[in-house]
Amino acid sequence: MIKQNKQQKNASLRIPLSMPFLPLAVDFAGKGARGFAYTDKESHSLELAVEELFSFYVQKVAADSAVELEVEDQGYRLALSISFQMANPDMRAFNLVWQVNPDSEESLELLGPMIAARSVSSLRLDFGNDDRITLRMTRNRDYPTTQVAALPPPNTQGPVRLVEPSSSDLRHFSAMVSASGAPFIPGFLASPGMAADMLAAGHLNAILALRGDWIIGGVLWRPLTDSCLELYGPYLFNDDPDDVVLTLLLDEAVGRISRSRFRGLVRRQGQLQGYERFFDLLGELDLTGISGAATRSTYYYRQLREEGGGVVYCSGALATFLADQYNRLCLPRQLRENGGEQLRLRDASVLAVELEYPRSLAIIRPLCAGKDMAANLAAHLDLLQNDGINNFMVEINTGRSEDIAFTDALEATGFVPRLLIPDAGLGDLVIYEHRVRKQQS
């Protein structure tokens, strides 16, 4: 069901991108957030981010540029975008760690974007058409994490019903998941109010299993990329002989999303016994948390529709890795050797970084290839590691030649391909992990 909210949920502002307008931009973010009933603390972190980003990019644009700011209340979070045009941009300016020289103290002053990234829940940079650059950030509401909920008695009896939960049902279910001590509870479930608000905003879907009046389990999903969904669970609160409830939940979830625009479904939590009835196994990744404790995520995947296959150009270790994976997963791909494209590279490469401080994780995605790719990657590693990040992943899209151009630089800086997330040969993702750093930490 699609919930429509007719209320005005956004506000926008168009002003010159120049220093005298900085206070207006900052005020817009802060007052906009407060206008949508965000707390002072939540609003302040957006002010801080806008201040850092605005003053950083002001220096890089032509004198008469304009900037558009937009805030949108999504219920559980505020989304803010800053968008401006920039002809012939100095690409280096879009790296998170622009011009960082680890030996020089003063270069750290140029870390505006990183400070901004740290104060919000997510920050992303997009290059659009017409040299348009958009910085997108979100700030989640602060939710209390605990809420007590009773779990069903061990052996509830009777037939199982599947229901689409209301927000209140989901709030209760989230609290039950926490009470059950399940491993791998995503952040939005650990804060019951957040899951409920995400459901209301249409950013999360769920099905719960009920026996009598008791919720005995549930499964959730939400978009991971434009073409792929991520599944969470199933979380089960009773014994489930022969996986009856698990199967009901998974079949219903897959049935519901099978005619959507999504092509794939990923699950990356712990192991799932009997997974092969539902998923293909992609592989495993280990993450070292802030405390140093390691968690292992097992990546499962299933296609939601038959795909047409495709041609993938690559070489070296990536080609070997892909040949292996495509063969193992019976995916129809023709691998073709690419070579010698390095000649046409720009000087400066650009990387986008998504930072998740709570998981001590940096996900790096190439935006533009350039001659300095290896140095740029190394600079990111140094800086982020000094900032307390333990885990580095680089995600490359095999459908983009800019991404493929990074493969040598990745190998040179100690990254190894670990996982393939297929996407119809249109843009299969390869996740590289940084081995050397992991061993050091």
Partner: protein
Amino acid sequence: MNLDLLIPEYVRNFEAYTPSRPDHLLQEEYGVSHLHRLNNNENTLGPPAAAVRVIADFSPDLAVVYPSGDSYDLREALSRRFDICRDRFLVTNGSCEAITSIIKAFCQQGDNIITADKTFAVYEWVAEFSGVEARLVPLRDYAYDPQGLLDRIDARTKIIFICNPNNPTGSYWTKQVLIDFLEKVGENRLVVVDEAYCEYVEDPEFPDAMELMERFPNVVSFRTFSKMYALAGLRAGYLTGTRDVVDVVRRTSVTYSVNVQAQMAAKAALSDDREHIAATRTMVKQARLFLCKVCTDLGLETVGGEGNYLMIKVPINDLLMYRRLMKRGMMVRSMTGFRFPGWIRVTLREMAVMESFAEALTEEIREIRNVRV
């Protein structure tokens, strides 16, 4: 150019169907030298002999001029065959065009259609991309649930689509079930009975929607030359209803959508189908018996009834099974898109191919089980 400003919301959110690629590309990608299609429920015996001759003798001169815009001769043949006035037939570019035309003719935004959740997807798709709500009623024991459908009817319900027999489960309503249903539905909305696979059914209790139109003028029947008549590549289907209903649907159908060769071949096929239907039924029966036994021996659950297809529950996800079978040159239909995750649907064909398929399936199942142990 911002296309988003031009596209209606219900089209923006709709994902186009991706048809499978041509065999030669699939063969290259999956590394196989042959490919048996068991995915689209085609009749591999080929068209009836008279239709084969018409196709073989087709003169290029005929390609120069437009075909009959209302398939006049073919309707005449249908009229003689079913003893129904020619104006009560509308010939379409496959029955998919009939689905589109009837929804366009009767539904506007705010209206709804009702059908099952696990059935041929095109009713739901056309409704969605036309801004019409598709209400989906869960199957009960793999069959259309009459009460479930009735419960969803409201003042804005325009059409109820019944796939009889149902693709993919093969279940069907008997004449009595259909009559009871029509009585309860009343006359204020249309009931389309999609009889794409009716020629496969031998049960005397199986209803003929055309016969019911006298008593229930809101009944519309869809049939096709794609299935039993093996003319899927030429695209011809037809809709039968009261004259009033057909007149309305004709308004939203494009003239000349049915090509001349399709009209000629379909007409010939109708004139020479007795032995063809008998031979096809024999082939399907034999294939079904054989494949059911293979599945029982392998401990695989099956669901089937009428129609030239059988659903098989597989021990791994169906999309992976599809790809594994592709690597053995066997193209089946994965059933996730039909909301049956974990199932595949297999077209019942001539024994030689069924035997090769059984071999491939058996090897796959053994391999899968061995890895797991």
